[in-house]
Symmetry: C2
Subunit: 278 residues, 2 copies
């Protein structure tokens, strides 16, 4: 039986009575197969599954991106029920950010490049809201998609540093049959943009293939990804990165674990994707 809660107080009261361990799936709604996979993972590992649905204004660096973000609560609640979630917390902005709210959680080096550089303030918004959610739910586990690889790293750093009680679990990216990583933003793609969108994954796979052939120059791997992206005239790359998988510093040579990642505009929609080597 799925219960929908709106306030901090309702959430606390409901959590006081549930079986442990608790698995948390924080979302911004507009749920897709990727979220479903997180929910299934939580249900497999935890006695109680909590989903939060909250489009967090503080992590959007552009107001238009926030207002444009897709929302359909009725559909989201139905998906949570289908997947057997126990509790759904779908609060208003004022329940998350209490009156007079004035605290910011920020993570340093790992939040600076890539999405952090492209979207100033984004990771402060993410770290702050996730700190609040972890504080409220006090779950044993929280599940995030590896599609947002840097986000996972920022949240893991924050939770460890602040001694929050929640272990961060990264789950594999779920893809469409043609390779496009699932994202709530995909709904914004016009048909020709949607047709072009698998180029992100194709570029990452070309980077991986070059690495598997023995290429260890990070510059060569970036060039290979850029070469593939350039075959799609609609794709406007924002960044193409080959970075240390722990620090996210750009590499010269790939001698250890490495994150290939990219951000690409298709029309007015910005998509990201990544591939972890090996």
């Amino acid at each position: 039986m799925t219960r929908v809660l709106r306030t901090r107080v309702e959430l606390s009261q409901a959590l006081a009575a549930v079986e442990r361990p608790v698995g948390l799936v924080p979302t911004m709604g507009w749920l897709h197969e990727g979220h479903r996979s997180l929910l299934r993972r939580a249900r497999g590992a935890d006695a109680t599954t909590v989903v939060t649905i909250f489009v967090n204004p503080r992590q959007f660096n552009q107001a238009s991106d926030y207002t444009r973000y897709p929302r359909d609560e009725g559909r989201d609640l139905a998906i949570c029920a289908e997947e057997g979630a126990d509790l759904i917390w779908a609060p208003s902005v004022d329940e998350v950010y209490v009156p007079g709210f004035d605290t910011t959680v920020s993570v340093g080096a790992v939040a600076e490049p890539l999405e952090g550089a492209a979207r100033p303030g984004h990771f402060e918004g993410v770290a702050t809201v996730v700190a609040i959610l972890f504080g409220l739910v006090r779950a044993e586990h929280a599940y995030f998609g590896q599609k947002d690889a840097q986000q996972v790293m920022v949240i893991r750093r924050m939770a460890l540093d602040l001694a929050l009680p929640t272990e961060v679990v990264a789950c594999p990216t779920v893809r469409e049959p043609d390779g496009l990583a699932l994202s709530s933003r995909n709904v914004h793609l016009a048909p020709p943009e949607r047709a072009a969108a698998p180029i992100l994954h194709a570029a990452l796979l070309a980077g991986r293939a070059a690495w598997e052939r023995g290429e260890r120059s990070a510059k060569a791997l970036r060039s290979e990804m850029q070469r593939v992206l350039a075959t799609e005239p609609m794709a406007r790359p924002d960044y193409v990165s080959c970075a240390d998988a722990e620090t996210l510093r750009e590499l010269d040579r790939v001698d250890g674990p490495c994150l290939l990642s990219l951000a690409v505009w298709l029309g007015a929609t910005r998509l990201i994707d990544n591939e972890l080597l090996p």
Copy 2:
């Protein structure tokens, strides 16, 4: 029986077995009657009392102030035992700030004036370490001295905003018979400075007296405090404030709760004190 713990793991294991509620008294050591009053308050309200002793490098904006801060762990442990503390956590810097630590908690408006303006970075250091301590101990209550009035406000804001499970309890300032507020820094005062130090409390009491006579001009209240401080040639005021007790914004007229506060140098030692009106 007082137990001394050094690591995060030892602390967690010990806490798993204690009776609730837990009362936390976070300290930087060099314990005095003020700390004893916090410990007694915790013992009166909570089943288990936890003291932390940690001179937090991140809240000192000057390295010399950090190295100069007085330390005497043996004496501190004896005082905790005398007062019947159950657990003492006295960690190394690396146990508080885990390897790769890179997270900052900052509070906005209420952390900006007064001590925040005089000591850049101080309250980020305070908010961050207290978030960690609250995360680790998960106490029902944490006790702080009202002598550091702005610190109490910053921590209360942070704990509420981040949904930390700990209620912040402010306890009355403990004073020497001549009115000097107890502070670990008092040990640095040379005898003539110690003799001059009660001037802080005298200035605050003069401000209060003026208010009790009906003075409602904040400027007049500040002038009255400055007038008293000027009678002590050794006292070099850093700031003299008459601010809104909720926002800490400087007032024109005193129409509601108000915090009189001041910071004064005596030689190389900087002392603070405050008085809440009414």
